[in-house]
């Protein structure tokens, strides 16, 4: 039996269904991310778990108890908001102690717990300051400490890092993962940043327009996307026009050159199929003799230097393909107009 289970969860506002039939079960201690573009219903789903919205259909079971209609204050759920939502009139210590006070803990118990939580987020010396005296990153750490102080059954975070600048964001997400692992707390994390979702999560739930596209581990989502949406939303993807598709032989023609692709059960191509391949699966040069490897010949259309990787746009008979190669210090950059040979494994590409 899963620790938290969402079944057939739907939410309708007026006439628009913003969350449709969401099913998810998470084990105790799991870190789940809701990933998807703006407006796809991530926040709404999370708010139903928190109890701030009531679902129109479906139910939520937490540790064997149906909490679908329970008030948020009785759910024992920790919540972290994008806007931090610290109480401006209270000191850091009072903020963290707030949930313990409503639980009628004794003064000494509260004091101990507050100190423990502050140590967890490394902000011991700020106990008597007010929220406005801290930086955004520090405030969000306090918000995290406040949510965790009550020993919640589940921790919910709604884009907790999007108000922070890039450097703090990177720092703090590792911090969140570390704390989550130490406490072993079941966590649901909402984000539209795929890197964040990949890096943090045990499993990612990709959403689009209110429904679930795929639930799986980060590598599963990336390497075996269940739908075209997932393939395109997570990471970069080439989608090349194809002709003369032969499903039995698993071959097709791309830019007048024959390509072998991988077939998989349950992954039938659509009406107008295209060949999907990730940029990093393309390699430069001829393969070391292997019949399973495809070869495309073309010329460089542009070169983009991105630091760790160099992104090439290659034109193959009027079809443009993006290929990523790793940078090296003594790399001689290909130049626009150069002839180039690309090879890629048949297992790297598929029809969608």
């Amino acid at each position: 039996m899963a620790f938290i289970e969402l079944s057939n969860l739907s939410k309708v506002y007026g006439t628009t269904t913003v969350v449709e039939n969401v099913n998810l079960s998470a084990e105790k201690g799991e870190f789940i991310s809701f990933l998807g573009p703006s407006g796809c219903g991530k926040t709404t789903t999370l708010r139903m778990v928190a109890g701030f919205e009531l679902p129109n259909t479906g139910n939520i079971v937490l540790d064997g108890t149906d909490i679908t209609n329970l008030s948020p204050r009785d759910r024992n759920i920790g919540m972290v908001f994008q806007s931090y939502a610290l109480f401006p009139n209270m000191t850091i210590g009072q903020n963290i102690g707030f949930g313990l006070q409503t639980r009628k803990l004794s003064k000494t118990e509260i004091k101990e717990k507050v100190a423990e939580m502050l140590a967890l987020v490394h902000l011991e010396s700020h106990i008597d300051k007010y929220p406005y005296q801290l930086s955004g990153g520090q405030q969000q750490r306090i918000a995290l400490a406040r949510a965790l102080a009550i020993n919640p059954a589940v921790l919910l975070l709604d884009e907790p890092l999007s108000a922070l600048d890039a450097k703090i964001r990177v720092e703090l997400r590792l911090e969140i993962r570390r704390i989550q692992q130490t406490m072993g707390i079941t966590t649901i994390y909402v984000t539209h940043d795929q890197e964040e979702a990949m890096l943090l999560s045990d499993r990612v739930m990709v959403m689009s327009q209110g429904h679930v596209e795929q639930i799986g581990s980060p590598s599963m989502i990336y390497n075996h996307p269940a739908t075209e949406f997932v393939a395109q939303f997570v990471g970069q993807l080439n989608l090349l026009p194809v002709s003369a598709v032969d499903l039995d032989a698993a071959t097709c023609t791309v830019a007048e050159q024959t390509v072998h692709f991988e077939t998989a059960a349950g992954r039938e191509p659509g009406e107008s199929p295209r060949l999907a391949i990730r940029p990093e699966e393309l390699h430069i040069g001829l393969p070391a003799t292997d019949e399973e490897v495809n070869v495309l010949r073309g010329e460089i259309a542009s070169v983009l230097f991105l630091g760790a990787i160099v992104r090439l746009r290659v034109r193959v008979n009027d079809v443009f393909i993006t290929a990523d190669i790793f940078n090296e210090r003594d790399l001689t950059f290909p130049r626009t107009g150069d002839e180039i040979v690309l090879n890629f494994s048949k297992h790297a590409c598929w029809l969608i």
Binding site: R73, F81, F87, P88, N89, F98, T102, Y132, A143, A147
Partner: protein, 265 residues
């Protein structure tokens, strides 16, 4: 630049004269109770009058009750509108403005008519009239109090704070009194002083519901019967209002400082 500042100063000067000249001449007149010399005797007479003190005390008490009930009414209302019923905002704003549009004299006749009869009979006892007066003042000052509280509430993220408190196990009472009220301190104080300034000198409602017991009607009586004292009491009440306004400014100023740089509290 130079020309621009010349013209703006000129307008400020004209505005200042328009405002201060009548005040100055009133003040000047109030000092001329004795022929040929300047004297504060008109002020002395006012301060020596026991009725001045009793009426002002009475009006102050009424004003404090008004403040108390108006905050108790307005804060939860504004809070709930922001949190749950944003579609009612226009309606409530309109209602709060009504007392601004309807002349006080019309309002007070309506009130007396409705509440003197069955089942209220509020005008049959002193206590009843006090209740009626306080209630009338709560309505009369709604335009200020609603606006002040609403502005204050727009400065805090009511929704997230409420939800954060809820998820930490707080009930509505705790949320209102430990989270919402304390973060509205400045807004509540401005509303308090605006209400005080309005209520203490109010004439129409006070004279019809209570009569000479309160400060407004007393001022008017002095104005009608005593030549020099009518001017001195004008100046006194003006100074009182002004002092209240200064206090509001002071609170707003400290608040602004807290927001911009992270000075201590």
């Amino acid at each position: 630049m130079k020309r621009g500042s010349f013209w703006s100063w000129l307008w400020v000067a004209i505005g200042g004269l328009y405002f201060f000249l009548p005040l100055l001449s009133t003040f000047d007149f109030s000092l001329r109770a004795k022929k040929g010399i300047l004297t504060f005797v008109a002020y002395e007479n006012i301060f020596k009058d026991p009725q001045f003190w009793s009426t002002i005390r009475f009006s102050l008490v009424i004003a404090l009750f008004t403040v108390f009930f108006s905050i108790l009414l307005v804060v939860p209302t504004v809070y709930w509108i922001r949190l749950r019923l944003p579609q009612l905002r226009m309606l409530v704003e309109f209602i709060s403005m009504l007392s601004y549009v309807i002349p006080a004299i019309v309002l007070v006749f309506g009130l007396i008519r409705v509440f003197s009869g069955s089942p209220f009979y509020l005008t049959n006892s002193y206590f009843g009239t006090y209740v009626l007066l306080v209630a009338a003042y709560v309505v009369l000052t709604l335009p200020f109090s609603f606006r002040a509280i609403d502005t204050g509430m727009s400065a805090i993220d009511v929704r997230s704070l409420t939800e954060a408190a809820q998820s930490l196990g707080a009930g509505w009472g705790t949320i209102l009194f430990r989270v919402i009220f304390p973060n509205l301190k400045v807004a509540i104080l401005s509303s308090v002083f605006l209400t005080l300034a309005t209520v203490i000198g109010e004439y129409t409602m006070a004279s019809f519901i209570i009569g000479l017991k309160s400060f407004g009607p007393y001022m008017s009586l002095v104005g009608q019967n005593k030549t020099y004292e009518s001017s001195s009491i004008t100046i006194i009440s003006f100074l009182m209002t002004w002092a209240l306004m200064m206090v509001i400014q002071l609170f707003n100023r400290t608040k602004a400082n807290n927001g911009t740089h992270s000075g201590g509290r």
